[in-house]
Structure formats: structure tokens, C-alpha cells
């Protein structure tokens, strides 16, 4: 299989099935689902094959593919992955496979839904595998746009209407409705991409306008003044996607309004794309600026951790709790990266992976609960564990991973990050991080207790609800399995991560 363009197959297989679905899927729901499954399964197989064949001893970028796209401007369709992107590709493959199962029950306009979902995934895969900055940006935009329609058409508007001044804002703008959330998310992310684009072009021109390739740009030593502002442009641009404070507000709205599979993919993978961008482009290309701005990145990450956790505690809507927990957990990712230590950066990348799986699981389960109980209001539900034990157990495992219990993937990630924070130049970062972890256990356990294990609700709507069924199990099993597997054997992901973070840190001169 060595002669095969595996990365291209991985990236374009979902796109091909999207085309098939658009072409032949009209009022054939079975065909739509199986084609989508086939496309994502091909990607999954490719991802596993890549994982098995990635040469850890050689490290660096492997499975190189190249095709000139716009030679006169030095734009090349150039793909390759290193350890970090390998793990991200694996994460994406897992989440979308589970996502296809989780959306098996989508009834309205299923043809368009699956086609857009698969288009979105093509963009996500493309970002992780592309080496050319420009192709990277192209895929990035593809990953953003379908979101508008996915949330706008298939999303759900929040039940808990805002009060007070927010109530007034609701009347003016429709805060909390799916249309509002979809537009807000799209505009925020596109706004971010404007920063990224200008930063990229500035680097390209400064390097002599010959190539957009990451490898070529890595070799250039940019002027510190240029580095400084380009880093900030990348940080804001990608940071919006990674939900850094104060640009995080699109994320709770967007994730709460999105349909299940889209929330899974967005919170699980797309937000990581932002962090990945900061690490890959910001830290990878601009070493001096990284040193210069690490304090800012880390401090804002601390705000994210604590503020996200506090906000999650205040929510009454289940989806908003999960969405704010993502804001908090993305803070841990950014904090790990900002420590500029080996354990911190490894923890950050591992947290991307772990949180991706975990939050994917959460949104899948919330989707199921909503489908059965038609409610997202935490405090009206109660005692669901007796009716839906499977969902309850899975949710609890996810919750325990979220608060960092040993033997789950979340523990490994948080532990490494905290270690990095303590040994970094700003050891005080450890305290907000630990406070965040503490607050996380509060809000997670509170939700788990209120909905599943606490006293049974007397509301007649919530009697005799079914547990997960059929294909729904598949999604849950895949995600819980991954969460526990990587918690027990973190080396599976940490080894490839480590071979890519070490060279990066060496270039930064901190190792």
C-alpha cells in the first residue's frame, strides 16, 4: 500500500461519499446512511493504517504527497503528517465515525445533512494533513462554512430563555435561537480567518514569495518585529476557534444549538483545530514571538479554565454545561502549549485528543437524552439511571474523565499539563489550573447526580424512557472504549505526540 496516496484517500473519501449522497440519495435514507458510513469507514481504516505504519524512529513528516496547484504563486497541494497530526487525524476519524451513527435518526432533509457533515469532515481532515499553509487555509474555510447550514437547519433553539438584560438582547437579536447561533459562530470564525490570512500572507511575502510550504517557511528566520504581530494575528485567528477568552462566546451558543453530530465534531475536533493552528503555525514558525507572548497565552488560558468552569456551574441547560466545559478544557490545552515544556506541550496535545473524545461522547449522550426525554433542563430531569442505565454509565465515565480521574484519558492530559505548568517560567499558572479542575468536578458531578443518579423526577414526561438502542450503542461504545483505552495506555498516543513536540521545542530553544 506504500504507493497509495493514503492521506488524500483519507481526506477525500468523505467528500466522495458526500457527492454520491447528493447525486443518488434523494429519498433513499438507507443509501444515504450506508454511503456516509462507508466514506467515514474508509477514512477510519486509512487513519489506523497510518497509525500502524508511522515510523516513530524516523519521526518528522511522513507519507508525503505533492501536486502543484498554482505554481506561479508557489501554492502546492502538499500533504504529510507528523506525530501530532497523526493523533488529530485519528481523533477526527473516531469522532466522525461515531457521529455518523449518532445521527442515524436524523429525519428531516437527511440527504443534505449527511452531505454537509461529510463536506465538513473533509475540511477538518484536510487541515490536519496539509503542509502547505495555503491549502491549510483552504480546508480551514471548508471546515467552517457548512456549519452555518448545519446549525441553521438542523439545530435546536435553547429552551431556557435569557432573563433581564439578556432577555432584552434576545428580543433584539434572537440570542439563543439556532439562527442566531449559526450566524454568530460563522461570523466569529470567519473573522478569525481574516487574521490568519493576513498573517500567512505576511510570512509568505517576508520569506520571498516563493512557497507557502510549512517546511520552506520553517527554514526562514523572520524579523522579530514581524514575528511579534504575526504571532498575535495567528493567536487571535486560531484562538477564536479554540474559544480563548474573550472570544469564546460563539462556542456555547453554537454547540448548544447544533445538532448532535455537529456538536460532537465541532467541540470534539474543530476547536482542537484552533489549538493545533496556534501550535503548528504560531509556535512552529515564530519561535521568538512564542517566547515573547507565552505569558499572554498562558494567562488567558488560566482565565479560560476558571471562567469556563464557573460559567458551566451557572447553567441550567445541559448542552450549555457541556459547551462551557469545552471552553474550560480548551484553556488547559492552551495552558499546556504556553508552558513551553515537554510535558506541558505533550499534555496539551493529549488533552486535545482526550477532550475531543470526551466531549464527543458528552454531546452524543446529551443528544440521546434529549431525543428520549425532549428536555435539556437539568433540574427538571432526575433519576434517569433506572430507565437508561447504559447512557447513565457512559455519561458518568465521560464525567469522570472530564474531572481527571486516573485511568481515564482526561487524567493523563491534566496531569501532564499541570506538571508542565509547575515547571514553566510562570509556576503560578498551576493554581488556577487546579482550581479549574476542582470546579470541574463540582459541576460535572452535580449534573450527573441531578439527571441520572439522584431522586427520580415525578414529571410524567420522564417516565418509562427507553435506553439507547441499535446504532446509538455503536457511537457510545466507540467513544467510551477510546476514552478508557487511552486512559489505561496513554503511551499509544503520547509516543507519536512526543516525537513531534520535541523537535518543535528544540527549535524554540527551550529543550
Amino acid at each position: 500500500m506504500t504507493g497509495w496516496p493514503v492521506l488524500s484517500i483519507l481526506t477525500w473519501a468523505p467528500f466522495a461519499s458526500a457527492l454520491l449522497i447528493m447525486g443518488f440519495g434523494r429519498s433513499r435514507p438507507g443509501f444515504v446512511r450506508w454511503t456516509a458510513l462507508l466514506g467515514t469507514a474508509v477514512s477510519m481504516v486509512c487513519a489506523l493504517w497510518l497509525y500502524a505504519n508511522y515510523d516513530l524512529a524516523a519521526a518528522g513528516f511522513q507519507f508525503y504527497e505533492e501536486l502543484p496547484l498554482v505554481p506561479s504563486m508557489g501554492i502546492t497541494y502538499q500533504l504529510a503528517i507528523d506525530g501530532m497530526s497523526l493523533v488529530m487525524v485519528l481523533l477526527t476519524a473516531i469522532i466522525i465515525l461515531a457521529g455518523v451513527f449518532a445521527s442515524w435518526t436524523v429525519k428531516t432533509r437527511d440527504q443534505e445533512f449527511y452531505a454537509l457533515l461529510l463536506l465538513l469532515v473533509t475540511g477538518v481532515f484536510g487541515v490536519f494533513v496539509s503542509l502547505d499553509l495555503f491549502v491549510f487555509f483552504l480546508f480551514y474555510e471548508i471546515a467552517v462554512l457548512p456549519m452555518y447550514l448545519l446549525i441553521g437547519i438542523w439545530g435546536s433553539s435553547g429552551e431556557v430563555r435569557p432573563q433581564g438584560v439578556f432577555g432584552w438582547a434576545f428580543g433584539r437579536t434572537g440570542v439563543g435561537t439556532k439562527e442566531y447561533a449559526a450566524m454568530k459562530l460563522t461570523l466569529y470564525l470567519l473573522f478569525g480567518s481574516a487574521f490568519i490570512l493576513v498573517g500567512m500572507l505576511a510570512l509568505y511575502v517576508a520569506a520571498g514569495s516563493t512557497s507557502f510550504s510549512l517546511l520552506a517557511l520553517e527554514a526562514v528566520e523572520f524579523d522579530p518585529g514581524l514575528q511579534s504581530w504575526v504571532f498575535l494575528a495567528f493567536y487571535i485567528g486560531f484562538g477564536i476557534l479554540a474559544a480563548i477568552f474573550p472570544f469564546h462566546t460563539w462556542s456555547p451558543d453554537g454547540h448548544a444549538s447544533a445538532p448532535t453530530a455537529v456538536s460532537m465534531l465541532h467541540a470534539g475536533v474543530l476547536m482542537k483545530l484552533g489549538a493545533y493552528g496556534v501550535v503548528r503555525l504560531g509556535m512552529g514558525l515564530l519561535p521568538e514571538a512564542t517566547q515573547q507572548w507565552a505569558w499572554l497565552v498562558g494567562t488567558i488560558a488560566c482565565i479560560n479554565i476558571v471562567y469556563g468552569a464557573l460559567s458551566a456551574m451557572a447553567q441550567k441547560d445541559l448542552k450549555y454545561v457541556i459547551a462551557y466545559s469545552s471552553v474550560s478544557h480548551m484553556g488547559i490545552v492552551m495552558l499546556g502549549a504556553a508552558t513551553l515544556t515537554e510535558s506541558g506541550l505533550n499534555g496539551a496535545v493529549f488533552q486535545m485528543f482526550a477532550h475531543g473524545i470526551m466531549t464527543g461522547l458528552f454531546f452524543a449522550l446529551v443528544g440521546l437524552v434529549y431525543e428520549k426525554a425532549h428536555s435539556r433542563d437539568i433540574f427538571s430531569m432526575g433519576g434517569f439511571a433506572t430507565m437508561m442505565p447504559g447512557i447513565a454509565v457512559a455519561f458518568t465515565i465521560g464525567g469522570l474523565s472530564s474531572l481527571g480521574l486516573p485511568a481515564t484519558a482526561g487524567f493523563v492530559a491534566e496531569f501532564l499539563t499541570f506538571l508542565g505548568a509547575w515547571s514553566s517560567a510562570h509556576s503560578w499558572w498551576l493554581f488556577p489550573a487546579v482550581i479549574g479542575a476542582f470546579l470541574t468536578s463540582l459541576y460535572v458531578l452535580r449534573v450527573v447526580r441531578a439527571i441520572f443518579w439522584g431522586p427520580k423526577s415525578t414529571n410524567p414526561h420522564f417516565q418509562n424512557l427507553p435506553d439507547a438502542q441499535g446504532t446509538e450503542w455503536v457511537a457510545i461504545v466507540i467513544l467510551v472504549g477510546a476514552l478508557v483505552l487511552f486512559g489505561v495506555l496513554p503511551g499509544l498516543a503520547l509516543t507519536p505526540i512526543d516525537v513531534s513536540t520535541v523537535p518543535l521545542l528544540m527549535r524554540l530553544g527551550v529543550l
Partner: protein, 475 residues
């Protein structure tokens, strides 16, 4: 006619114009469809001739050149005209049945002006060509004279257009005073020495040209004109006369000037920045899709000026790319508007509710056009914007690129509002919208254009860069 004669394209067009004119004289009744088809066939033939024409020849003692830039302009005008005439065949308005030949004669006369203008290397020829282009446009805007809005739009357009012509002429007199000749090749040396009379003249002309291309603050006529005129014609004036304006700007301010062109950078950048911001912001509250596209068109002119502000080979090359991308995206959008208006009887954005479920193909086409205009990957408009930003960043004008990039987000907002109507909201009337075959062909052509340029831009970039190079090499 001798195929190597530099005026061959104009000659054929003039012949076509006479044929349509005589046809109108001979058969006053029931000749509408025939005139349209003859015009269409003639334009297709002339386009083929324009594609086979070789650049690099001069006629009429140097006042008329057939170089790379003029060929680019002529081809663009012809493609836009073919698409527009194709869409006009789908017009069922009574005026087109009764007075169709009048429409085509005026249309061809205006086109003839554009073709000559693309080749003009003499100030007088330039001005006469400009007027030949503009005067039929005023008439065509008011063509549907029974409509309430048409005379008003035409009048406004006429007044603004005449004033801008006067301003251009006034500036031209200074240029002539400084140079002592109407030959444009006399301009660069005087710009290089910063002759005040010459600069004053050129600055005045830039204001006049600003009216023609509808840069802010000279854009007021655009929305009213677009709203008043018939849609295939609006599709055409949204691109063809604007391109003509840019060609004139290239000839006057860029060609042969070399380093001296840097002089215009501050004024053009300010004009570009203001146009982008104002155009995009004013598009937001529009509820009529033609007015929305009018304001978004103003914003696009801002992006084109941004490319001009770079005053470099890549800047000019990318403006050319942008013009072609804009042609397909914008004309296509107007054609969809025409189809919807023919069925719904209104240009209000409300009427697009649930279009995706009524006519999926039409809705998808409009979505693609809007995304291309908004600059989304794999559409022509994406590369166009990107190339413009690249050219600007290359000159170190980061803030301008940044401003442009941020305001594309605003543009996407109002394009997405239309997308929301089409895709998210449910239709009030589920019947599909009938689209005449000719209009479908025109829309299909535009979709093909944005996708081909979007997926594989390389050959286009190369060709346009070559054209731009000639502007900077010939002194």
C-alpha cells in the same frame, strides 16, 4: 475584412449593429425575437474572432492599439455581452416584444464604445469612446419606461454620468495643457517630474472615473439605477462599464509610468478603504436583492481599487483576475434574481424563502455565486480576494489587507442572510420556479466559470500576469 486589421473586431460589431438597425427599420412588428437571436449569433461570432486576434498592432497613427490589455478588455466585454443577451431572450416584458430592436441597437452601440475604449491610446479617442459607451446606457436604464422607477433611475444615472463626463473632460483639458498633445504617451514623463498641471488634471479625471466605476463617495447612482433597470442589463452594467473604467485608469495612471505610479498610492488606498467599508456596511440593511447586490458591487469595486493601490504587476494582474471572477459571480447572481423576479414579481429578499426546496438547482446556483462573491474556497472569488490581498501585502500595506479581509466577513453576513432565506426557512409557496432554457444556459455558464476558475486558477493567473507585465514594461 482583413483578419489582421487591428480594428477588425470593432468593424464586425459595427456591421452587426447596422444589420440589427436595418432590421428594426424594415419590420417594425414581430421582429423582436429575431433581432435578439441575430445579436446573439453575431456576438458569439465576434467573440470567436476576438479569441483568435493577435496582440501587438497599432492603427490610426498610434491612437488605437491592439495590445494584451485591450484584448483582455474586449474579450471580457464580449463574454459579458453574450451572457447578458442570452438572458435578455428570457425577458417577457411587453417593451421587449414591441421595441426589442431598439434595445439591441443601443446595447451594441454601447458595446462598440467599450471595445474602442479598451484600445484607446489618445485622450480624445478615450473620451469619445467613453461617451459612446455611456449615452446608450442612460437610455437602456430607462428602457422599461412604463415602470415607475425606470425614468427616475435613468434620469439620476444620466445626470450623474454627464457631470462625471464633464469632470473628466475638465481634467483632460489640464492634461492637454500640460502635455501639449492628446497622445497618452506624453503623460508618464510629466508625471515623473510631478508637473502640477498634469497632476491636477489626472486627479480630476480620477474623480470622474470614480463616478463611472462607482467608488465611494461617487456611488450614489448605483442602487437606484440597478433597481430601476431590467435585470439582464443590470447584470451587464454591473461589470462591463466598470471594467472599462478600470482599463481607462490603467492606461492613464499605470501604463508606462513605472515607479511614478507610486504617487497615486495614498489617494487610491483611501478611496479603496472607504469604498470597501461603506459598500459593505450599506449593503447590510437592504431588503431588495438588487439593491443588496448593488451595494455589494460597490464594495467589490473597493477590492479592485485595493489591487490598484498596490501599483505593481501582481496588483494589476490580480485586478484583472478579480474582474473576471466578479463577472461570473455577479452576472450569475443577477440571472437567478431575474428568474425569481419573473416568477414572483418582486425583487424582495423575502421572496427567496425556501427556494432550496422549491428549486434546488436555482438555489444552489445562487448560493455558489454568493459564496464566490464572498470569497469562499474553490470558487473564483476566493482566489480573486486572496490574490488582491497578496498583492497588497507584498507592498507592505498590511492594514489595508487586514481591513479588506475583515470586511469580507461583513459581506459574508449579508450573503448568508440570503442563504438563510433560501435554505433554512420554509417556503410559503412550494411550486418550483420556472426557468427558461436560455436563462438556464446563462446561469450554467456562470457556474462553470466560477468553478473552473476556482478549482484550477493557474492558467488564468499566468495569463493575467502576462497582460499586467506589458503595462509595466512598455515605456
Amino acid at each position: 475584412m482583413d483578419p489582421s486589421w487591428p480594428l477588425m473586431i470593432e468593424g464586425w460589431l459595427f456591421a452587426l449593429l447596422l444589420v440589427v438597425f436595418v432590421l428594426g427599420l424594415l419590420r417594425r412588428q414581430a421582429n423582436d425575437a429575431l433581432a435578439g437571436w441575430i445579436t446573439l449569433a453575431g456576438l458569439v461570432g465576434i467573440s470567436v474572432a476576438a479569441w483568435n486576434a493577435e496582440p501587438g498592432r497599432v492603427a490610426l497613427e498610434g491612437t488605437f492599439v491592439l495590445d494584451e490589455l485591450s484584448l483582455f478588455g474586449k474579450r471580457l466585454f464580449l463574454v459579458a455581452s453574450v451572457l447578458s443577451v442570452l438572458a435578455t431572450q428570457a425577458m417577457t416584458h411587453a417593451s421587449f416584444r414591441r421595441r426589442g430592436t431598439e434595445y439591441y441597437v443601443a446595447f451594441l452601440a454601447s458595446l462598440l464604445g467599450m471595445l474602442v475604449l479598451a484600445s484607446a491610446r489618445d485622450l480624445i479617442v478615450l473620451f469619445v469612446a467613453f461617451e459612446l459607451m455611456s449615452i446608450p446606457l442612460y437610455f437602456l436604464t430607462g428602457f422599461l419606461k412604463g415602470d415607475k422607477a425606470a425614468p427616475e433611475g435613468a434620469m439620476k444615472f444620466f445626470l450623474v454620468g454627464s457631470i462625471s463626463s464633464a469632470v473628466i473632460l475638465y481634467g483632460l483639458s489640464f492634461v492637454y495643457g500640460a502635455a501639449g498633445t492628446t497622445d497618452m504617451s506624453a503623460i508618464p514623463p510629466l508625471v515623473a517630474t510631478a508637473n502640477p498641471l498634469m497632476l491636477l488634471g489626472l486627479a480630476l479625471m480620477l474623480g470622474g472615473l470614480g463616478f463611472k466605476i462607482a467608488a465611494v463617495p461617487f456611488h450614489m447612482w448605483v442602487p437606484d439605477t440597478y433597481e430601476a433597470a431590467n435585470t439582464p442589463f443590470v447584470a451587464w452594467i454591473s461589470i462591463a462599464p466598470k471594467t472599462a473604467g478600470f482599463l481607462a485608469i490603467f492606461r492613464l495612471y499605470v501604463e508606462g509610468v513605472g515607479e511614478g505610479a507610486v504617487l497615486w498610492v495614498p489617494i487610491v488606498s483611501v478611496l479603496a478603504g472607504v469604498t470597501i467599508v461603506a459598500g459593505n456596511l450599506m449593503a447590510i440593511p437592504q431588503s431588495n436583492i438588487k439593491r443588496l447586490l448593488a451595494y455589494s458591487g460597490v464594495a467589490h469595486i473597493g477590492y479592485l481599487l485595493l489591487g490598484l493601490a498596490a501599483m505593481s504587476v501582481s496588483g494589476v494582474g490580480m485586478v484583472l483576475f478579480y474582474l473576471v471572477a466578479y463577472l461570473f459571480g455577479n452576472m450569475g447572481a443577477f440571472f437567478v434574481v431575474q428568474a425569481v423576479a419573473a416568477s414572483e414579481g418582486s425583487d424582495e429578499i423575502e421572496k427567496y424563502q425556501g427556494l432550496a426546496r422549491r428549486s434546488p438547482v436555482l438555489a444552489l446556483s445562487l448560493l455558489l455565486f454568493l459564496l464566490s462573491l464572498g470569497g469562499i474556497p474553490f470558487m473564483a472569488g476566493f482566489w480573486a480576494k486572496l490574490f488582491i490581498f497578496w498583492a497588497v501585502v507584498e507592498q507592505g500595506m498590511y492594514w489595508l489587507a487586514f481591513l479588506g479581509a475583515v470586511l469580507t466577513v461583513v459581506a459574508l453576513y449579508y450573503y448568508l442572510v440570503v442563504a438563510r432565506r433560501m435554505y433554512i426557512e420554509a417556503p410559503t409557496n412550494p411550486a418550483p420556479i420556472p426557468v427558461p432554457a436560455v436563462l438556464m444556459v446563462a446561469i450554467g455558464g456562470c457556474v462553470a466559470g466560477i468553478l473552473i476558475m476556482g478549482v484550477y486558477p493557474e492558467p488564468w493567473v499566468r495569463a493575467f500576469m502576462r497582460v499586467a507585465m506589458t503595462l509595466f514594461s512598455t515605456i
